[in-house]
């Protein structure tokens, strides 16, 4: 259900301000959402002074630098630092994106970093993605076939057939899109969200998959698919330039087409 106000334990209280490093040449304020489960306290937003002159260009560089030099308890996920693992997805200056591919130069004013919106927070910038992954698993993201596989080779596709799934298959499951979607905020318990639906689409249009009908049956539901109201935040934020909104529109089209 839509609940616009944060529950009592989630409201942000005043945070700590860390002094800027001495002799900073290019000072930038970074405000970061902090939450420690053991403290029993509400989340807060801490302010850090960062010298851009002695830091790498990306937001992830800033986080790593602050963790190394100011507060080692600062917690965030990161791995590949080149936009392919999807670990460092977070809300930066109001928009969901990957910290590793977001240049601080393209952000104006103070840099404000929050966890992905409307998610349970484990610690600081780390959201609990259990439900998100469960929804991905729910669309059965693997090849479902009835016919036996050819004994001497793989199931082949034409070049064109491969190209159709090329883009949707490039999803890195960073959750930027789903957690940017207001429909997902209010109904994540029943609406699958753009990421899972993009994955569903990727298997529906796969020329080798033989469960298209079942896949559509599984999505034919007022919530699972049809909570998408084409707000377009998903496509707007995708760091891989994929288009979940169009994938969902295509699924909706197939739902209609198979009835006429």
């Amino acid at each position: 259900m839509a609940e616009f106000r944060l529950p009592a334990n989630s409201r942000i209280v005043k945070g700590i301000t860390h002094a800027a490093p001495a002799g900073a040449r290019e000072l930038r304020q970074v405000r970061i959402y902090r939450f420690t489960p053991d403290s029993g306290e509400n989340p807060r937003v801490d302010t850090f002074g960062l010298d851009l002159a002695s830091c790498g260009p990306m937001v992830l560089d800033a986080l790593i630098q602050l963790k190394a030099t100011v507060d080692s308890s600062l917690t965030f996920r990161r791995s590949c630092r080149e936009g392919i693992c999807g670990s460092c997805a977070m809300n930066i200056n109001g928009v969901n994106r990957l910290a590793c591919t977001t240049s601080m130069k393209e952000l104006s004013g103070d840099i404000k970093i929050y966890p992905l919106p409307h998610m349970p927070v484990v610690k600081d910038l780390v959201p609990d993605l259990t439900n998100f992954y469960a929804q991905y698993a729910a669309v059965k993201p693997w090849l479902r076939t009835r016919t036996p596989a050819p004994p001497d080779r793989e199931r082949l596709q034409s070049k064109e057939e491969q190209e159709r799934i090329d883009r949707p298959a490039a999803c890195i499951l960073c959750a930027c899109c789903s957690t940017a979607c207001p429909s997902y905020w209010w109904n994540s318990d029943r609406f699958l969200g753009p990421a899972a639906l993009l994955a569903a689409y990727r298997w529906i249009i796969d020329s080798r998959d033989e469960a298209t009908g079942e896949r559509l049956d599984e999505l034919e539901d007022p919530f699972r698919l049809y909570r998408c109201h084409t707000i377009m935040n998903c496509t707007d934020v995708c760091p891989k330039d994929l288009n979940p909104a169009r994938a969902i529109a295509e699924i909706k089209k197939m739902m209609v087409e198979r009835q006429i």
Binding site: V95, P117, H118, M119, V121, N233, N243
Partner: protein, 129 residues
């Protein structure tokens, strides 16, 4: 396990064209629902005879009501044009990021233009001999 806080959403998310066009469409539909009350009142007054109708005309012609009706015309136009945008989307077209951004602003501009035209026509009707 301690209960986990919910990360902030509406309070931190940037209010972009996506959210704006979506919430305006909802607001317009809500306004139209409220407008139905005014329409019902007017229809009842018409059915009730000449005196009740004359009374309703006076009340509906007050500046506040005129402003309200102008708002309704705008809501009607916006909802109509935004609805057409959704119909186009349902055919699988116009869903690219740049196209969606363009159409969001186009819906606003066209609905304001339509409101001015419709408003002018209504105004002329009101002053017809």
């Amino acid at each position: 396990m301690p209960s986990r806080p919910v990360s902030p959403h509406l309070s931190v998310y940037k209010f972009k064209y996506t959210l704006l066009s979506s919430i305006l469409n909802r607001a317009a539909s809500l306004a139209l629902s409220v407008g139905l009350i005014a329409l019902t009142y007017w229809l009842l007054a018409v059915a009730d005879g000449a005196r009740a109708q004359a009374q309703a005309q006076v009340w509906l012609a007050t500046p506040v009501m005129k402003l309200f009706l102008a708002g309704l015309v705008l809501a009607f136009c916006y909802h109509l044009v935004a609805g057409i945008r959704h119909l186009v989307w349902d055919t699988g077209r116009g869903l690219e990021r740049a196209a969606a951004q363009r159409s969001a602003w186009a819906v606003g501009a066209v609905s304001i233009l339509l409101t001015l035209v419709l408003g002018y026509c209504l105004f002329r009707c009101g002053h017809a001999p």
